[in-house]
């Protein structure tokens, strides 16, 4: 079963990470802080996803995004 588990879910634990992080911030209120925390989680997951997908994220692109008002 263990071998199949790895196969069926691919080589990434990102779904596990995503579920746990969203579960964590899901406990927060739907106010400014909560929305900001959820936004940060989405951004971090995007970073993780980029690494897991094999396309190394470029600092330049990430920085450019962070520069947006």
């Amino acid at each position: 079963m263990s071998d199949l588990h790895a196969d069926s879910k691919g080589s990434s634990v990102t779904p596990l990470l995503r579920d746990c992080l969203l579960d964590e911030v899901g406990q927060l209120a739907d106010d400014h802080d909560g929305r900001e925390a959820r936004g940060e989680v989405e951004r971090r997951l995007e970073f993780v996803q980029a690494i897991v997908s094999g396309k190394l994220p470029r600092l330049e692109a990430w920085f450019k995004h962070a520069l947006q008002p």
């Binding site: 992080l21 971090r44 600092l59 920085f63």
Partner: protein
């Protein structure tokens, strides 16, 4: 499909061949490498069976050696050659990748990434218990998380190496900002201006009360000294008249003595001329004495001071002047510059008058300066510097001026003394001349004349002395009246708010002196704060410009690709600050993301470790520590495992076809609703392998179906329990009916060697390689 493995016989033991056939059965001795063979096929076709077995991975890397797996009979008729080279493998088991070695497809080089889509090999274990199965999933996830962390670390380290210098450059510049410092500098300057106004007001008030006290003193002196002085002047006038009458009488007698002689007219003329000269010179001596007395009084020396005392006083004042000027150099640079500017006034004014205003007078680095511009600039600078001059500096300037004046006056005293001595010599000379002329008189006339001349000299001396005294008294009276007469002084006092009898002036002055000193100190402090704030603002201006210049360096070239706009030198500091802040904010935000990602992985790793310790094949125990993400991890696995356990095959085997199967990882129990509607519960540890293995196997074969690949091969390993329970036929029936051609293209069942084969060929194979393979119809 047919599999063949070529490896050195000196390395790990592993079976070499599996022939073609949709359903095969392998029987063999223990320890010949059946499972290792399956795991190598898994590894080479897209799985990483060693993720949760780091020690087994180390053994494999060390003992396998280079080997080649040849796969023939793929659906498209092609073949694969998979070259595994453990020399290039990572220390820890990483997901399938190009690091495995080399691959050829149909004789041509190919990428490892092409393999899983072409062929996947799966292994289904028949010896799994429920707890072990769950535990392995958790441990496997933990291993993959570690590998993911390693990749994240590599990226974040590379990003950090570029972000840290940027943050180090910008961090000190974002707080306080240009606007804040500019506001502070403005406020401090306003406070300093206010303190200066207060200081001026305090000193103006001090001037007022001091002036009132001086007027009061003057009035008092006037009242006390003027009447006797006027009386004395009157007395001098009376005495002078008397002395003049006596002098006239003596001179008349003297003239008669001279006239009674028969001497020549020439002698008489000479005597008359010498007498007039004597009187003139006597008056001059008196004037010089008066002048010298005044000079000594001015410099504060007594009239009897000798030459050495005056020289000493000059020396002392010179030294004092040197000290004061040294003080000024260190404490009143603004005042010195003002002096310098003042000294340039006249020559520059003359240059303007000579129409030289438009001419360039200095070549500077950035521009040229004309005479007109220099005049205007110096005037503006003088105004600024004068506004910065403190009360102490002002007092220092006054002291220097006074000392210079005193020194000049002191240096004047010897000159006046010399003039007086010369006047006395001249008088003595004419006295001797008169004596000689008297000697030329005949008979007793000479002696009579001498006596009369002596009286005359005495009277002249007295008369000139009275004149000098009167002049001094008149000067004193003038001094007493210098601020006006009594009425005027009284009015002036009233104007200042006081009268002549006001006795509180001295204490008022003391109080006001203290206030003025405090105001002066406050002004100095406020001025220092204003200068400091101005300095900070200026330093920030330079730092901003320098930072923007540094951002053009090679280290920060990457910023060009971020769309960041870097302002030029000409941009205002406020704009430069805005850009710096934006860059710093972006860098901080990106870095926070990196740190956040690391922390997320760390927290998830700790939560997985804790959960794995609780749900372990060795038994379930302990309570889960409440760390970050621990609750979320439990919820995640409860949902995932419950979904797996709810599959029909497992519900049938484990939960009597019950429904609503749930797993509680806090209590490590399962619950379900039985057919009678009652909710039942059972600890995880109560589920064993063996009788339920068939259910797990069916579930896992269903999962194979979810994995896409053109060719799929499943090895059913460790199924000895099936043999023991005589359920092997059930398994083969299920595989033939439900798996072959539906789930997988080829299924190989690996079994222990229970009995020796009767077929000579199989017996021979068993003897030579330790196993044999049979096709199952």
């Amino acid at each position: 499909m047919r599999f063949n493995l070529e490896a050195s016989p000196h390395n790990l033991r592993v079976i070499r061949d599996v022939p073609d056939g949709s359903l095969l059965r392998i029987r063999g001795r223990n320890g010949i490498g059946k499972t290792l063979f399956v795991r190598l096929l898994q590894l080479a076709t897209g799985s990483q069976p060693y993720l949760s077995m780091p020690r087994a991975w180390e053994t494999l890397r060390a003992g396998l050696g280079q080997c080649q797996i040849r796969v023939e009979g793929l659906k498209d008729g092609g073949n694969l050659e998979l070259f595994l080279d453990p020399n290039g493998w990572p220390d820890h088991p990483e997901p399938f990748g190009e690091w495995l070695g080399a691959v050829r497809r149909n004789g041509h080089p190919a990428q490892w990434s092409e393999v899983p889509g072409l062929l996947r090999v799966f292994r289904v274990g028949g010896d799994e218990s429920l707890v072990r199965s769950l535990s392995m999933q958790i441990r496997s996830d933990r291993e993959r998380l570690l590998q993911q962390q390693a990749r994240i670390e590599r990226v974040s380290a590379e990003w950090d190496a570029r972000l840290q210098p940027l943050l180090a450059l910008l961090d000190d510049l974002v707080s306080p900002t240009w606007d804040q410092l500019a506001r502070t500098a403005h406020d401090r300057r306003a406070a300093a201006d206010h303190a200066r106004r207060l200081r001026k007001e305090a000193y103006a008030e001090l001037d007022r009360v001091t002036r009132a006290r001086d007027l009061q003193k003057q009035l008092s002196l006037l009242q006390a000294q003027r009447p006797p002085a006027l009386q004395r002047i009157q007395d001098i006038d009376v005495e002078a008249d008397t002395v003049s009458s006596e002098l006239a009488r003596i001179e008349e007698q003297s003239a008669r003595v001279v006239a009674s002689q028969r001497q020549s007219r020439q002698l008489r003329d000479e005597i008359s001329k010498a007498e007039r000269l004597y009187r003139l010179r006597a008056e001059r001596v008196q004037r010089r004495r008066y002048e010298l007395a005044g000079a000594l009084r001015t410099v504060g020396l007594h009239e009897t001071q000798d030459e050495a005392a005056i020289d000493q006083a000059i020396l002392e004042q010179r030294e004092r002047l040197v000290e004061l000027e040294a003080d000024r150099i260190s404490s009143d640079r603004a005042g010195l510059v003002v002096d310098l500017i003042n000294s340039l006034d006249r020559p520059l004014q003359r240059a303007v008058e000579d129409s030289l205003g438009p001419e360039i007078v200095a070549d500077l680095a950035s521009s040229n300066v004309t005479v007109d511009e220099l005049v205007g600039g110096l005037g503006s600078r003088r105004t600024t510097l004068e506004a910065q001059t403190t009360e102490e500096a002002r007092e220092l300037g006054v002291a220097i001026t006074r000392t210079r004046t005193l020194l000049t006056q002191l240096q004047e005293v010897p000159r006046i003394a010399r003039l007086m001595e010369r006047a006395e010599d001249d008088l003595a000379e004419v006295g001797e001349q008169l004596e000689q002329l008297a000697g030329r008189l005949s008979g007793g006339s000479a002696e009579s004349y001498r006596q009369l001349q002596a009286s005359r000299a005495s009277l002249i001396d007295r008369l000139t002395g009275l004149a000098v005294e009167k002049a001094e008294l008149e000067r004193q009276v003038d001094d007493l009246l210098s601020e006006g007469d009594e009425d005027e002084l009284t009015r002036s006092l009233a104007t200042l708010g006081f009268d002549e009898s006001d006795s509180a002036l001295n204490s008022l002055i003391e109080e006001q002196e203290q206030r003025a000193a405090i105001a002066s100190s406050d002004e100095s402090a406020a001025g220092a704060e204003a200068d400091s704030a101005g300095g900070r603002l200026e330093r920030l201006r330079r730092a901003l410009a320098l930072a923007l210049e540094r951002l053009q360096d090679e280290d920060f070239r990457w910023l060009c690709e971020t769309g960041a706009e870097l302002p030029g030198r000409a941009a205002s500091p406020a704009l430069q600050q805005t850009i710096i802040n934006r860059l710093n904010q972006a860098a901080s935000s990106v870095r926070a993301d990196i740190v956040g990602v690391r922390n997320d992985h760390d927290a998830l790793g700790v939560a997985l470790d804790n959960l794995a310790r609780r749900v372990s094949p060795e038994g379930t125990h302990g309570s889960a520590p409440s760390t970050r993400l621990a609750a979320s991890v439990i919820r995640y696995y409860e949902a995932a495992f419950a979904q797996e356990l709810a599959e029909p095959e497992l519900r049938s085997a484990l939960f009597d076809d019950g429904s609503e199967v749930r797993l509680n990882l806090e209590t490590l129990t399962t619950t379900w609703v039985a057919g009678d509607g009652e909710r039942r519960s059972r600890p995880l540890e109560a589920f064993s392998s063996g009788e339920h293995a068939f259910a797990y196997t069916r579930l896992q074969l269903e999962n194979v179906n979810k994995t896409p690949s053109e060719n799929k091969v499943v090895f059913l390993d460790e199924f000895g329990a099936y043999v023991a329970r005589d359920r092997l036929d059930d398994l083969f029936t299920f595989v033939k009916n439900k798996a072959i051609g539906v789930i997988a293209d080829q299924v190989v069942v690996i079994l222990p060697l229970a009995t020796l084969p009767r077929d000579p060929a199989l017996s021979s194979a068993l003897t030579s390689v330790g196993y044999f393979v049979e096709a199952i119809d």
